[in-house]
């Protein structure tokens, strides 16, 4: 019954999406006057999709083996947390989650958006309905999560052990909220193009969505990166895997949009530009979904290889992106040009930010899709990895980081450059560090050294916009900007520093042996069997010391039975200055065990920086929202 209820809710929601489309764009007799009907439909549609998602979670929690998806991906002996998260640890469930977020976004837009003009709002709701309709069709026709299995399976096949991790509970939902939250920016942009009203009111309606989606994307990407870092046991935190790029591309577009939307809100400039970026943002989300869900990539995310599904998503995304850009081509010429600005101004700096982000996005996009393109044309198989992305995109990212130090010091419209004098001290710090790094230790990448120096400069410069301000009167959104920019500096220091200073030891050791790495002396104390709820393991005990006390690390090799798989669980010791990362490998047959150890100085800054970036976005969101709320209530 539960599965049928979920399926019925989905069909009903799809019908409502169609109705929503008609209420917005249909011929006059169908098209509703006012906005009340379309709001009601959107809210009902969101509620129904949420209900369907809840039904799927219920089926997984009960391990209902008469449902195909549960039988293929779950197991009765799995801890309940992974039964819950297992609902989206597979293709169909994750697409249902995607559609649920899409439906809920439409509903939230319907509830809270009160200040937009009727025409823009109604068209935006129509666009949201159109998006939902396509993805409902994909779910119902090509990825039904509620299909029954007759006769029911005796036992489920289990969940890929790599996914049996608390990361699965948070990473996909946050990332999807971010991905799909951008759909509202897309729909609002479409709505504004149709009504022809691209102005600061639109920007103010769009901004909370962009900020919110961007914060969630930031958290989702950082969480995914940390998950890969400790779960894969490879010691790296970013592999330029196409699936990682699929999440990075919407983030890059959203970062650009986040900055240009402030220009539109504050100055009413960059109208066509901002609308374009809003469409690019969600387009990248769809491209990402296609890359991840079509199964054309080698990845843990490619749950099943089914070319039909890939084609379906490709058709959907080509249609939406094509339609949106055609609309842009037709309508953008009619938008009036906004107020002008000088070459040295806040606006110009933000245009610079947008251009650099766009170039990085282009480089990542081409590098990610190139292998697919080449294989389609010539049949050659190839892969594009870190040597390409780091070399080509890295220097541009550093230029962007320099601009982050400068831009916030410029004033709107025109600037004489007076405040730039404040950059003298941070610039001197940066230059000194460059000279020291280039002269002192031999080896190491130039890019990392420059990165470290620019990070130091930006860390100081990011606080300069606060100079001369009364702290308690400084708007929360300015604090948000400062915190996020400081976070960029901190994260950059973490990336560059850990790359430059990282130490690695790969060895085979007997219990009792000692291994030195960086400042640590690690004793391989013992290796013993261990067991968990649905796995057994060989667990090494490592005793790490550096001068003072002893830290105990217990890396494992785990054996799961359902499905039968081995995974290695890294053990990580986090201290202020970095992380000691340990992996135990296999027995060599002569009483020794493979050990792989990394000392990663400054990597803690990367995780801290990511958290600061997200916090900055959150502060800006709260600041903007409370300000809007106060304005509303003063009237």
């Amino acid at each position: 019954m539960i599965a049928e209820a979920g399926l019925a809710a989905l069909w009903l929601a799809a019908a409502l999406a169609l109705l929503q489309l008609f209420l917005a764009f249909g011929p006059a007799p169908v098209r509703a006057e006012g906005t009340a009907p379309v709001r009601a439909v959107a809210i009902a549609q969101g509620t129904l999709t949420l209900f369907a998602m809840a039904m799927l979670v219920a089926l997984f929690l009960r391990t209902d083996l008469s449902v195909l998806l549960v039988a293929q991906n779950s197991h009765s002996a799995k801890p309940w947390l992974y039964k819950l998260a297992g609902a989206w640890g597979n293709h169909e469930g994750s697409m249902l989650l995607w559609v649920t977020v899409l439906g809920l976004s439409g509903a939230i837009l319907a509830i809270f958006s009160r200040r937009l003009d009727t025409r823009t709002f109604r068209s935006a709701m129509g666009a949201q309905g159109a998006l939902a309709l396509g993805f409902f069709a994909f779910l119902l026709l090509a990825s039904n999560p509620f299909a029954r299995l007759n006769p029911p399976a005796a036992e489920g096949r289990g969940l890929n052990p790599l996914l049996q991790d608390p990361g699965l509970v948070f990473h996909p939902p946050t990332l999807y909220l971010g991905y799909v939250g951008l759909s509202v920016a897309f729909s609002l942009a479409v709505g504004a193009l149709i009504s022809g009203r691209v102005d600061s009111a639109l920007a103010k309606a769009m901004r909370p969505w962009v900020l919110g989606a961007w914060v969630l994307l930031t958290i989702g990407i950082a969480a995914g990166s940390y998950w890969a870092y400790y779960e894969l046991g490879w010691g790296g935190w970013w592999f330029w895997d196409p699936v990682e790029n699929a999440s990075l591309m919407p983030w890059l577009a959203a970062t650009a949009l986040l900055h240009s939307i402030n220009v539109l809100a504050a100055r009413d400039s960059l109208r066509a530009w901002t609308v374009m970026l809003a469409m690019v943002g969600f387009s990248m989300s769809m491209v990402g979904t296609f890359l991840v869900r079509s199964g054309i990539l080698t990845s843990v995310h490619a749950f099943a290889v089914d070319p039909q599904r890939g084609t379906f998503i490709l058709v959907l995304l080509s249609f939406y992106i094509g339609a949106a850009f055609a609309l842009f081509a037709i309508r953008s010429g009619k938008l009036a040009e906004g107020p002008r600005f000088e070459l040295v101004s806040r606006e110009a700096a933000l245009v610079g930010n947008n251009l650099l982000l766009t170039v990085i996005l282009g480089i990542v996009f081409v590098g990610t899709l190139y292998p697919l393109f080449v294989e389609a044309v010539t049949g050659d198989k190839l892969s594009v990895g870190p040597p390409y992305f780091n070399t080509v995109a890295g220097p541009i990212a550093l230029v962007l980081a320099l601009l982050v130090a400068i831009g916030p010091l410029l004033s709107w419209r025109r600037d004489s450059g007076g405040k730039l004098k404040r950059l003298v001290i941070p610039a001197l710090v940066g230059l000194t560090l460059v000279v020291v790094l280039l002269l002192a230790p031999p080896g190491g990448h130039l890019l990392s050294k420059l990165g470290l120096a620019i990070a130091a400069m930006l860390a100081i410069a990011s606080f300069l916009p606060l100079a001369g301000r009364k702290f308690r009167r400084t708007p929360l959104s300015v604090w948000g900007m400062v915190v996020a920019h400081f976070g960029v500096a901190v994260a950059l220091a973490g990336m560059a520093g850990s790359t430059l200073l990282s130490k690695e030891v790969l060895t085979a050791a007997r219990p009792g042996d000692r291994v030195a790495i960086g400042p640590w002396l690690v004793e391989f104390h013992s290796i013993m069997p261990a067991a968990g709820p649905n796995w057994t393991a060989l667990e090494a005990e490592l005793r790490a010391s550096r001068g003072g006390g002893v830290e105990i690390l217990k890396p494992q090799v785990r054996f799961y039975t359902d499905p039968p798989t081995e995974t290695s669980e890294a053990a990580i010791e986090t201290v202020m200055s970095g992380q000691l990362y340990t992996v135990v490998g296999r027995a060599t047959g002569d009483g020794r065990w493979q050990l792989r150890l990394w000392w990663k100085p400054l990597i803690t800054l990367l995780w801290l920086g990511a958290a600061l970036i997200a916090l900055g976005g959150l502060l800006a969101l709260v600041g903007r929202a409370s300000r809007g709320w106060r304005k509303e209530h003063q009237r």
Partner: protein, 148 residues
């Protein structure tokens, strides 16, 4: 600088230049940084460039894994229907790396014909196989019966 008369035109021009620059940079970067995928027979026919980063994919031959005395280096043969390539790898092999199973090695081909791998990839789980190995039969690549 002269105040632009048509700011929008200037912005459009700048945007177009930026996108073109991105594509050109990307094409330049891809020219010698993309790693081609080769099968052992292609390597045997000399189709793989020596010293360039490439990916080698095939079956880990039965009985070919040999551990060197340092305990962390292995040598094995990757083969397909017609040829075999010796591979040297220093590191911890992935969990599903085993003889008779499919694997992809990333690294460079030495002039001697030895493939020195930096990374070894194996399939992720029971149901999963790297797409590059799709031309091997599923049974062969998984080393056992794969459902569906």
């Amino acid at each position: 600088m002269i105040k632009p008369k048509h700011q929008r035109l200037v912005l459009i021009a700048v945007a177009v230049v930026a996108v073109l620059a991105a594509v050109l940079l990307a094409m330049w970067g891809l020219k010698d940084r993309a790693a081609y995928f080769h099968t052992p027979s292609e390597v045997a026919q000399g189709k793989a460039a020596v010293g360039q980063p490439i990916r080698l994919g095939g079956m880990v031959e039965e009985g070919s894994i040999e551990r060197l005395s340092d305990g962390v280096t292995i040598r094995f043969l990757v083969g397909d229907e017609t040829a075999q390539v010796p591979v040297l790898y220093r590191g911890i092999v992935p969990d599903l790396f085993r003889e008779g199973s499919g694997a992809v090695a990333e690294g460079r081909l030495a002039p001697s014909g030895l493939f020195v791998a930096d990374t070894i990839l194996a399939k992720h789980d029971e149901r999963y196989m790297p797409p590059e190995l799709g031309n091997l039969s599923a049974v062969q690549a998984a080393g056992k019966t794969v459902q569906k």
